[in-house]
């Protein structure tokens, strides 16, 4: 499926979507509350069939937090990037996709661990790489740890 057709589909799913295209992927940015439904449609749609989530990343921006989903269809061999924009930096929340792609279970735990993004309805949302009693969300840009972090 070509990028223009994908753009069409995403425009239908979320009218607020901002679409850009770089040298690699088609990148669609949509508000977080619409992300789950859009992703589910992209996974299940007959002509999209994005069955392989190869990367899930949390990104911290000064004004908002993003969850980046790198999607690929193993059948149709097309790829795209979907970014869910969470405006609330204090208590970021987004619906989980762990039931759509099983691999998201670990990746969402990692995003929660580093950015404090609360994935609603996640089966087992705990810290994964850090200790259970770690305080703060270390990958956020405003995280401070005077002992372990060296400023240079």
């Amino acid at each position: 499926m070509s990028n223009s057709e994908l753009t069409e589909i995403i425009k239908n799913l979320s009218p607020d979507a901002e679409i850009e295209e770089n040298h690699q992927f088609l990148i669609a940015t949509i508000p977080a509350p619409q992300a789950r439904k859009a992703l589910e449609t992209l996974r299940k749609g007959e002509n999209t069939k994005f069955d392989y989530l190869f990367c899930l990343t949390g990104v911290d921006y000064p004004e908002h937090i993003e969850v980046v989903y790198h999607l690929k269809s193993t059948d149709l061999e097309h790829e795209m990037v979907l970014k869910a924009r969470i405006d609330d930096r204090v208590k970021p929340e987004i619906d989980t996709v762990a039931d759509i792609w099983r691999t998201a279970e670990f990746h969402e735990r990692e995003a929660y661990d580093f950015y404090g993004i609360n994935f609603k309805d996640h089966p087992d949302l705990r810290r994964i790489l850090l200790e259970d009693d770690w305080e703060g969300w270390p990958m956020r840009k405003d995280y401070e740890d005077p002992i372990n972090m060296i400023e240079y």
């Binding site: 990148i27 069955d51 392989y52 990367c55 990343t57 911290d60 790198h70 691999t103 790489l129 200790e131």
Partner: protein
């Protein structure tokens, strides 16, 4: 701890599930991985991996480091496929800089990648045998791996964490002896690889222990993101070298090894055949290293243009991805490593349920986990 389920009918003897901590120090987790097993006698009901014992916050460190420095950190993740990890970062940076990489570099990178893959697989083979109780394989695997590490040592001075790549090319040119030694190794290894089959693959006990154990269907493999030999053994065609060729992989002719069974034996066989395929790739390239520079000119301080870059490579364990978001400064705004082990491990619970403790060891070793790769 969750509460135990007592709803099952209590017969003459009451049975109760219990927990066992496999790790953090355990011979067959190959590193500091802790698995909390819920057992019913010897049968596994649930596996809960606890990770992060050697988390070094590499991604956070990358946000402060220059791109040339980041390359060094990737060695310390999947140390058995260090060259491929380096290559992924370098390719991502080169993608951003839009530099033309000399053909010589591409071919050498491919050659070293495949040698690294063979060395990783030989080590895996040895350890796999050891996990199943055949300790002798361990030393046979290391014997052959030693020849490769010697080649690496001569090429770049290091045996394990090589750091041979730099953004734009290679650290230095290959040693004049390189081609001869690689050819000598191929000749040696072609005789030794059938020995592996004789010692382990064709052993009745080994086949009994691995056939039909830890089955992962194709759908599950895709859903869990299990890539590399483990994914391909389930029929998931995920070889990055074929799907998104990088370096010199578009110049060589090789097969993507696929299997349909998805059990431990299939994963085992895929890896063995991958070693043959890697030798095939090396043979095609070893005499055709083009003349030229070993490095494209780059600036001393690399600044990537604003934007995002995703680069994936096929490491010995699966699809390794580097996702760089750059804001135009000398270090990335965000850098994410999609490590294959992390996703592969997530399927462990699904694969191990209902099998025995001994099978658990077999399943883990066929997933070929490298813990620093998972913990990052």
């Amino acid at each position: 701890m969750e509460t135990l389920d007592h709803s099952e009918e209590i017969t003459a003897l009451e049975s109760q599930e219990y927990f066992i901590n496999m790790g953090p120090q355990h011979p067959s987790t190959h590193g500091v991985l802790r698995l909390v097993l819920t057992l019913d006698g010897e049968i596994i009901r649930k596996v809960e991996p606890h990770l992060g014992f050697i988390h070094r916050s590499i991604e956070k460190m990358c946000e402060k480091d220059a791109y040339t420095q980041i390359v060094h950190l990737t060695d310390r993740m999947d140390y058995l496929s260090c060259h491929m990890n380096n290559e992924a970062v370098c390719l991502a940076v080169e993608q951003g800089l839009e530099v033309e990489i000399p053909d010589r570099v591409k071919v050498i990178r491919t050659l070293i990648s495949e040698l690294t893959r063979i060395s990783s697989h030989t080590l895996w083979w040895g350890v796999m045998g050891m996990d199943l109780g055949a300790i002798t394989t361990f030393l046979y695997g290391f014997r052959d791996r030693e020849m490769i590490t010697d080649i690496f040592e001569e090429t770049c001075g290091a045996r394990l964490t090589m750091n041979y790549n730099v953004p734009g090319g290679l650290m230095d040119d290959i040693h004049p002896n390189f081609q001869n030694r690689v050819k000598a190794f191929l000749e040696h290894f072609k005789k030794k690889l059938p020995e592996y089959d004789k010692l382990l693959s064709n052993n009745v006990i080994f086949q009994e222990r691995t056939k039909g154990i830890g089955i992962l269907s194709k759908e599950d493999a895709i859903s869990y993101g299990v890539t590399g030999p483990a994914g391909r053994a389930s029929g998931f065609s995920c070889d990055v070298r074929k799907k998104h060729p990088y370096s010199a992989y578009d110049q060589v002719d090789f097969k993507e090894i696929l299997d349909e069974t998805g059990d431990c034996y299939a994963r085992y066989k895929v890896r063995i055949q991958e070693m043959w395929e890697s030798m095939n790739i090396i043979e095609q390239l070893i005499d055709n290293i083009p003349e030229g520079d070993f490095k494209a000119p780059t600036k001393a301080v690399i600044k990537l243009p604003k934007g995002e870059y995703y680069q994936r490579v096929e490491t010995a364990r699966g699809e390794f991805g580097v996702y760089i978001i750059s804001d135009g400064k000398k270090s990335p705004y965000r850098l994410k490593f999609r490590s294959p082990g992390f996703s592969n491990l997530s399927a462990l619970d699904h694969m191990a349920r209902g099998s025995k403790i001994a099978d658990m060891v077999a399943i883990m070793s066929t997933l070929d986990l490298v813990i620093p790769d998972i913990d990052r």
